[in-house]
């Protein structure tokens, strides 16, 4: 879309764009280019010599059982967080939109976890599920259910999934609620003549929500991939025995802790490809406004 009326200045637009472009070039493009460049090099541990190795780093990570294990953890984690956060968000939104009173009050009481930092959310869940001092963690052990997320990988994964989903439900709830409120009343009224509430929801309302659902699917996956670093770092540190080490966490631990620049850069490039893929999917959908 283009405006017909514009200002004729020749220099001013560049001045206006300068701050944004400067930040973009220095902190986005240059580092991204560096990551690409580093990903085809191998550096010795002292940083004295570097060697160009084509795709050796990529080959190394894609055949590394640790990396593939981390990819599996990421898929399981992201899938569980997305499914849990989206279905609870949809459930609450459908209930809040069922023509009841106090919708706004429920909205207020359900949306605030969005504002809690992932790392702070982790500290809250830690306090509840700590095996010796946590209110629930202690109870579980007292009941004879051995609970220790520091030793048991499955329990650790469950805990990071719960803490991450807890934070994300409010986001999904708000978008589903907005989507439901935009469904035309007439359609629902017409459907209510010959269908019960459940059938009406699944065969009429839910298909109408498909743009929202699809958008949220992408957003939730991006959230689970990239923004849950704080939850994992604070709760489990990727452990025990890498049971909660997602791809992002692995980039961090290989690059920042173990200083393996080549491998970490190659991992970064793989992640970049994933983001580009997800964003492309999202914008294709936004452009076309797909409906049922």
């Amino acid at each position: 879309m283009r405006r017909r009326v514009i200002f004729p200045n020749k220099v001013l637009p560049y001045v206006l764009l300068a701050p944004q472009l400067a930040v973009t070039l220095v902190f986005f493009f240059w580092p991204a280019a560096q990551a690409l460049y580093q990903s085809v090099l191998i550096q010795d541990p002292f940083g004295l010599r570097t060697q160009f190795v084509w795709f050796e780093n990529f080959q190394a990570i894609l055949t590394d059982p640790l990396y593939l294990g981390s990819a599996r953890v990421t898929l399981l984690f992201s899938g569980a967080v997305t499914l849990l956060a989206m279905s609870l968000g949809l459930l609450f939104a459908a209930m809040a939109d069922a023509g009841i009173r106090h919708t706004r009050l429920y909205r207020t009481l359900l949306m605030w976890p969005y504002a809690v930092a992932p790392a702070v959310a982790a500290s809250l869940w830690l306090f509840v599920f700590h095996p010796s001092i946590g209110v629930l963690g202690r109870r579980l052990n007292a009941l004879g259910i051995p609970w220790d997320y520091k030793l048991n990988g499955a329990q650790a994964l469950l805990l990071v999934i719960l803490a991450s989903a807890w934070k994300q439900v409010s986001y999904n709830f708000l978008f589903f609620l907005a989507g439901l409120q935009a469904v035309p009343r007439a359609i629902v009224e017409a459907a209510s003549i010959d269908a019960g509430p459940a059938r009406r929801f699944w065969s009429i309302v839910f298909p109408l929500l498909s743009p929202t659902t699809f958008f949220l699917l992408v957003v939730n996956l991006v959230y689970a991939f990239f923004e849950t670093f704080g939850v994992i770092h604070a709760l489990t540190g990727g452990g025990p025995v890498k049971a909660t080490e997602t791809l992002i966490y692995k980039v961090y631990s290989d690059g920042v802790i173990n200083l393996d620049l080549g491998s970490s850069s190659a991992q970064s490039v793989v992640l970049m490809a994933i983001v580009i893929g997800l964003t492309a999917v999202q914008f294709r959908f936004v452009e076309r406004k797909v409906h049922y």
């Binding site: 069922a98 001092i133 990239f226 670093f229």
Partner: protein, 283 residues
């Protein structure tokens, strides 16, 4: 939409009430934990109701740092750091996005599309995937442990620019034409017409970006090696990280409450702007 012709059923209220309670329960325990002494928590005998030590705990957290065992800054200082970072990121993002969107919409110049695409592509480069090279740039520029290092690398934003572009495209050509006939230059038009028209969008975006900035974790974790520069979100995780048996859970929970208070208050009290800022750009 609202279900037509139906009075209040009990099921929605039940489901929502259970939801509200389940979602609030970690907060409730944090609140309780912040009102007892360290010993009764460490022995696992914390009661499920408030204790008498709340004031002392919050006071110690705010002024004394984390139990005086480690050289962390007091939480009061950490919260100031968080505040500066959050406001810096929000104001910075809005300022540079509003200017660049204005340039892209109201001017015609060579490389206009290229500039727009360069901004757009940043959407696909979240800080998490370029951690180490970005850290290196910031460290080469001497910006480690500075507020500039904490904020500036995070302020480029494709979403804010896209949002303002959408808003500016709705400003009718007639208005621009009239302003030009009246002799208003581009900057005067910007200050007197475009900015006032975007006021509500700016307010809504500020709320979202304040929360985004306050809750940053990975970036400040890398950029702050000086403990006086730590944000409260980093501070709290470092408190937990110290030895397990001696952890002052009462102080940690008081800090957790303090750390979430500003962003949660912003969401609850500026709810109108928050929902607008969150849901509308995506419509």
């Amino acid at each position: 939409m609202g279900t037509p012709g139906r009075s209040d059923g009990w099921l929605p209220h039940l489901v929502l009430t259970v939801g509200v309670v389940v979602f609030a329960f970690p907060i409730y325990f944090a609140l309780i934990g912040s009102s007892h002494d360290a010993a009764s928590i460490a022995t696992g005998r914390m009661p499920l109701w408030p204790g008498p030590h709340a004031l002392a705990n919050y006071w110690q957290a705010l002024t004394g740092g984390s139990g005086l065992r480690i050289s962390a800054a007091p939480v009061g200082r950490q919260m100031l750091n968080s505040l500066f970072m959050a406001v810096g990121i929000a104001v910075g993002k809005i300022a540079i996005s509003v200017l660049s969107a204005y340039a892209v919409v109201f001017f015609q110049f060579p490389l206009r599309r290229t500039c727009f695409w360069m901004i757009f592509i940043t959407l696909m480069l979240p800080v998490e995937v370029r951690i180490i090279p970005t850290y290196k740039v910031v460290s080469d520029l001497g910006m480690i442990n500075t507020m500039a290092g904490l904020t500036i690398p995070l302020i480029a934003s494709a979403t804010a620019t896209l949002l303002f572009r959408q808003v500016f495209l709705t400003i009718p050509d007639e208005l621009t034409e009239a302003a030009k006939i009246d002799g208003a230059g581009p900057m005067r038009f910007f200050w007197q017409i475009v900015l006032p028209l975007s006021k509500t969008n700016i307010a809504a975006l500020f709320v979202i970006l304040f929360i985004y900035g306050w809750n940053q974790y990975l970036w400040p974790l890398l950029i702050t090696t000086d403990r006086q520069m730590e944000t409260v979100v980093i501070g709290i995780v470092k408190m937990i990280g110290t030895s397990d048996a001696q952890t002052d859970w009462n102080i940690i929970m008081a800090t957790a409450m303090l750390a979430m208070l500003p962003p949660v208050a912003v969401v609850v009290f500026l709810q109108h702007w928050f929902v607008k800022g969150l849901v509308e750009p995506e419509k």
